[in-house]
């Protein structure tokens, strides 16, 4: 085990030396991986911000319940109070509604309509975006004979949810394509490295080195490329957020409201770095294995 660790440390040293000897090309590699990773990460940033925006306004989604004249309000009120998806209940009796309407239409002094035509009503503010939950609540309410009509104001919620789903799908597709591009780029770089170290591979094979021993420094190189690229990508995302927020605060006075991007959380940043490392490892593994096989069978 001790020897195995020493072997790993040795391979890591070799990989670090190779990066050091090719510092400019290694740095270019970090930039390429960083920018490529940054594209889907920016999409993720956009989705996260849209999600947060939608979560701020989803509580304004309302259900209006119109009661039948003379019905028992207490039963409905009790039922509504028990529902977990309702954030706020506002009851407006028909007299107040009528006065409000008259005031709004400016017909308070004209007694054209003798009788108040408006019903008692409940206005519910929901705390969910889930269409399933909204439908369930509406179905429950429809069971009450005291209720005359229910008006659900959630069409925009559906649209937003669909847009978010579609955006996620687009970003996922884009990310998959870019990850393939990254594997090809890193793999090609590692392939060129294996050609540069062809003599070393040949000699090592001749004196009894296992493929794993030969592959190890290349794997570490791939991992280091991934780590550098991932860190660069994370830094780019942070820079984008910083620059955007700084510019947005400058134009806040002009447009009258504040737009601020919220940075991805630490876990997501770590995930981006881990994905980059994984891609670096995978690409170098595939490329080094193939190259060693070719050299071995040349």
């Amino acid at each position: 085990m001790n020897n195995y660790l020493l072997n790993l440390i040795e391979a890591m040293k070799i990989a670090l030396n190779r990066l050091r000897y090719n510092l400019s090309s290694s740095f270019m590699m970090f930039i390429v991986i960083g920018i490529t990773m940054c594209l889907p990460s920016s999409g993720l940033l956009l989705i996260e911000n849209l999600k947060q925006l939608s979560s701020k306004i989803e509580y304004q989604a309302e259900i209006s319940i119109f009661m039948k004249p003379g019905s028992d309000l207490k039963i409905i009120e009790d039922f509504l109070n028990e529902q977990p998806n309702i954030k706020n209940i506002q009851f407006i009796n028909k007299e107040i509604s009528w006065k409000n309407l008259q005031k709004k239409l400016n017909i308070e002094e004209i007694n054209i309509v003798k009788e108040n035509p408006l019903p008692d009503s409940f206005y519910l503010t929901l705390n969910t975006l889930e269409q399933k939950d909204i439908n369930f609540l509406v179905d429950e309410l429809k069971q009450f004979k005291e209720i005359d009509d229910i008006n659900v104001d959630s069409a925009w919620v559906k649209k937003l949810a669909t847009i978010l789903k579609l955006s996620k799908l687009i970003i996922l597709t884009l990310a998959t394509l870019l990850l393939i591009v990254l594997i090809v780029i890193i793999g090609n770089t590692i392939r060129l490295q294996t050609l540069a170290y062809k003599d070393e591979i040949e000699v090592s094979k001749l004196i009894g080195a296992s493929n794993f021993f030969i592959r190890r420094p290349f794997l570490f190189t791939g991992i280091l490329y991934g780590l550098g690229g991932g860190l660069f990508s994370s830094l780019l995302i942070k820079s984008i957020v910083y620059i955007f927020n700084r510019s947005a605060s400058n134009i806040q006075e002009i447009i009258g409201f504040s737009i601020q991007l919220v940075d991805l959380n630490l876990n997501t940043h770590l995930m981006i770095i881990c994905v980059a490392i994984l891609i670096g490892w995978l690409a170098s593994f595939l490329s080094a294995t193939r190259s060693i096989y070719k050299i071995d069978h040349a």
Binding site: N3, L6, N7, D199, E202, V203, L206, I207, G208, S210
Partner: protein, 226 residues
């Protein structure tokens, strides 16, 4: 220790490099394989060191059939050999110390033990004062000695050398040969391929190849210095 039994080797598109070669080498022997260019010396050494496999026939090394050795088993067999190649096969981006340390790393030997062994090997070939130099700065003879240091650093039981003095002048060639003889004297099996037999004051086995055929095999031949 090593037994060749009716070994044939044919490269695709070429005539047979080895034809019906059979011989035995015992532990601690000094063996010279001679023959003209293209006679099959290098091929024989490659098969013997398990770098290549014969087209037919059997090669037995320490009760293991080399034809069937693969993967880890093959690597383990190769690690028992100290190989010196005609073109040295040194790593020119690593210094002398690092070149010699490579087989130790392959055998999982690191740290102080590795340093001790590398220095001992370099000392043995007279290159201890050049351990931090790059191989490219060494003369041909020194490069060959460095290759020998790399071959012996893991204390192999067999050393094979493919024309180790081919590109050297007489003075360097004698120096190199003397290093090999010193290993044979401490019980290491030494197998050397060469164009001509050197003048050596000791017993050795001589295998002569001509167009891939083993012409004769003297079991214990002693040649006195001229």
């Amino acid at each position: 220790m090593i037994r060749f039994d009716q070994v044939f080797k044919r490269y695709p598109g070429y005539q047979e490099a080895l034809q019906n070669v059979s011989f035995e080498i015992f532990a601690g022997e000094l063996v010279f394989i001679t023959g003209a260019s293209g006679a099959g010396k290098s091929t024989l050494l490659k098969i013997l060191s398990s770098i290549e496999k014969p087209t037919s026939g059997t090669v037995i090394f320490e009760n293991t059939n080399l034809n069937q050795a693969k993967g880890t088993r093959l690597n383990n067999i190769r690690r028992k050999f100290g190989m010196v190649f005609q073109d040295h096969k040194l790593l020119y981006d690593r210094n002398c110390f690092e070149n010699v340390a490579l087989p130790l790393a392959i055998n999982n030997i690191f740290g102080k033990e590795a340093e001790k062994r590398v220095r001992a090997a370099l000392d043995k070939v007279g290159l201890l004062n050049k351990e931090r130099m790059m191989p490219i700065t060494l003369s041909g003879g020194e490069q060959q000695r460095l290759a020998i240091a790399r071959a012996i650093v893991c204390r192999p039981t067999i050393i094979t050398a493919d024309e180790p003095t081919g590109n050297l002048d007489k003075e360097y060639a004698n120096e190199i040969m003397n290093i090999f003889f010193s290993f044979q004297q401490v019980g290491v099996t030494v197998i050397i391929s060469t164009h001509e037999l050197p003048n050596i004051p000791m017993k050795f086995k001589h295998l002569h190849l001509d167009n891939g055929k083993l012409i004769f095999k003297n079991q214990t031949y002693e040649q006195l210095p001229a």
